[in-house]
Amino acid sequence: MNRTSLLATAAALLAWAAPATATNYSLYIHGRTGGVTGCGVSQPTPTGWSYWNGQVQPGVNPVPVNYDGTAHISVANPTVRGYLDTYCTGGNSCYVACHSAGCAHLGYALDLFGGRWNILWIDSGGSAEGGTELSDYLGWATCDALGSDLRTGTARALYNHNDLRGSWSYMFAGAKGAAYSFILPGDDDAVVPFHSAGGMSSTGRWCTAGTWLCSTLPGGTTGKYGYHYLYFRDDGAAYDHYVSSGIPRVVASDMAAYAR
């Protein structure tokens, strides 16, 4: 076999082999790790699947994206981007499931540092990217730095939320509020109001279908940030914010079905 033939054979082998090296991953970006109604936090940076109650989450090649969930978004974001660089570049692609403040982390990364990651789509459960009025009311901001980032005005001014670089974010909005939910406008999942979890491009009072004297959180892309799509509105008020009992379960079900 002469040199030209060898090169041609090598090129053909490479071309054949390249797709085999492409791998899809399912990245799970957790939310704030500080307490909801208090400041207690035993583990600012989760390990393994600890944020997800120790359960490996569904989807192809699932990876927990663990960062300091008490730090400012800008401070912890390099860690999040490190995962994206590891799993979502070159021939590899990612499905991303984010929860709560994890969705703000992803949006921040995509807007300010994006363009180099292959993200197939995003499942956003209880997204706190639009902030939550609880940030002030329950004293989150006195607990940790991330809590102060999640004030509604601050969270929405932090980056361009429309700039998902063409990746669709499927929004999952839970509606099982809590006793203190009167603090939040419209419906909420006990932590994040619909205006944030639904991807609305402004604050406001939005509710489940049929709520008296309250506009229904609109479906699809209406009123949303760019490339945000309301996929699940919890009209049965069955899901709160929490991993064990809430909207992350709906996201997990979606990831199990489609993130393959």
Partner: protein, 403 residues
């Protein structure tokens, strides 16, 4: 939570108000007997620029001409959705394997089309149509909340609701912030009184407030209470980070604590020097923006571009490293946006804003004093501008003008 007791009680006492609210509710909750949209609704008709929840444009634009993206043309990404049967939510556990696979393939196709649609325009020149919260600068969404929780002494069912506004989040030496406060009880406007208001630093881990840096006075402005203040530069010294305006307010005998949050980003690292010229390059209009850089680093600079009628067209952006010195920074109005929107020249670079990005620290930026503009381009014929999609070419490079 579903209908709040305090809200329902207030509304139930006012039938006329009820009718009004019903009439102003979104279309899905309308009173024409139309069915509610399902849990995950199909996309509504093409988004004609403004949509529920979208902000109103600034009055200056409204006076100058069309106030939002042209009616009729959908937001680029919204046009993707053509299979509501597959885009609707369905519990995967209720679906047969074949249905799941069909939905999976559809979602992957949507992902592909989303990226393709996004790539019609370069990242450095995006349609303002897909950035409707950014049509005007510094649009900070208001915060609406009860003044105090019932267990803090409020009267419960009819507790006061306050609406807080602020015109910016990021502060620099010389910038002046304006905040607003209004209140309702049972949906009816009522006077609010500010008992005390003081600016504090908010720093540390866990964060804690400093001694008051500045007392701030509110004064009535119609139904609002407003206050303006500038950060106390000498007191702040080299500090950068959170500044909180902490307010104790009283409404109808009920008291509560409010916070207006700001981020002090210190002295600007660079200064705008206006727009030097506009020119044609590769079928797009380029505005060369003068920038005097004092601190080198990664900069994000963006400007809003309108057409001759005031139609918001594009968010043009520079995102890159700059050394110290004077630069002509190219901001691009991508030719295809002009054609997509049916826009007419001359084009107006309405304003400029930006910051030096500091990665991995807080605050993550040093903001520049914005440039208020406007700058009006020369007239361009439509055939001078390319209707072609972006071919992946990088943004024009900044240039250092020769002396």
């Amino acid at each position: 939570m579903r209908a709040r007791a305090w809200w329902a009680a207030a509304a139930g006492a006012a039938a006329l108000a009820t009718l009004f609210l019903l009439a102003t509710a979104s279309g899905e909750a309308g009173w024409d007997g139309a069915p509610e949209i399902p849990v995950a609704a199909p996309d509504l008709p093409p988004v004609p620029g403004r949509s529920p929840g979208a902000r109103e444009p600034p009055p200056s634009q409204a006076a100058a001409g069309p106030s939002g993206p042209r009616e009729g043309a959908p937001r680029t990404e919204a046009a993707d959705r053509e299979r509501p049967d597959l885009d609707d939510y369905a519990d995967p556990t209720d679906l047969a394997p074949g249905e799941i696979e069909a939905r999976r393939q559809h979602r992957l196709a949507q992902a592909r089309r989303g990226r393709e649609n996004y790539a019609q325009h370069p990242p450095f020149s995006r349609p303002l149509r897909e950035n409707d919260d950014l049509v005007a600068p510094e649009q900070i969404a208001p915060t609406v909340r009860p003044l105090s929780p019932p267990d803090a002494g409020g009267p419960g069912e009819l507790s006061a609701v306050v609406r807080q506004t602020q015109d910016r989040v990021f502060l620099r030496p010389g910038s002046v912030a304006t905040v607003g406060l209004e209140a309702t009880i049972g949906g009816e406007p009522v006077p609010a009184r500010v008992v005390s208001a003081a600016l504090v630093r908010w720093a540390g881990q866990p964060p804690a407030a400093s001694e008051p840096l500045l007392a701030v006075s509110f004064s009535p402005a119609g139904p609002l209470l407003t206050a303006s203040f500038a950060p106390p530069v000498e007191t702040l010294g080299s500090y950068t980070g959170d500044l909180l305006l902490r307010v104790e307010a009283e409404v109808g005998g009920e008291r509560g604590d409010l916070i207006y949050a700001f981020v002090y980003t210190g002295a600007p690292p660079a200064t705008f020097a206006g727009v030097v010229r506009d020119r044609l390059e590769s079928g797009s209009v380029v505005f060369d923006v003068g920038l005097e850089v004092r601190r080198p680093g990664r900069y994000r600079i963006q400007g809003r571009i309108d057409d001759a009628t005031g139609l918001p067209l594009a968010l043009a952006r520079f995102d890159g490293e700059l050394a110290a010195g004077r630069f002509d920074l190219p901001l691009v109005l991508f030719g295809k946006i002009v054609h997509d929107e049916g826009a007419t020249s001359p084009f107006v670079l309405r304003d400029l804003e930006g910051f030096r990005l500091l990665d991995g620290v807080y605050p993550d930026r040093e903001t520049l004093d914005p440039w208020a503009g406007p700058y009006r381009s020369r007239a361009y014929r439509p055939d001078e501008l390319s209707p072609a999609p972006w071919d992946g070419s990088p943004a024009p490079a900044p240039r250092q003008p020769t002396p």
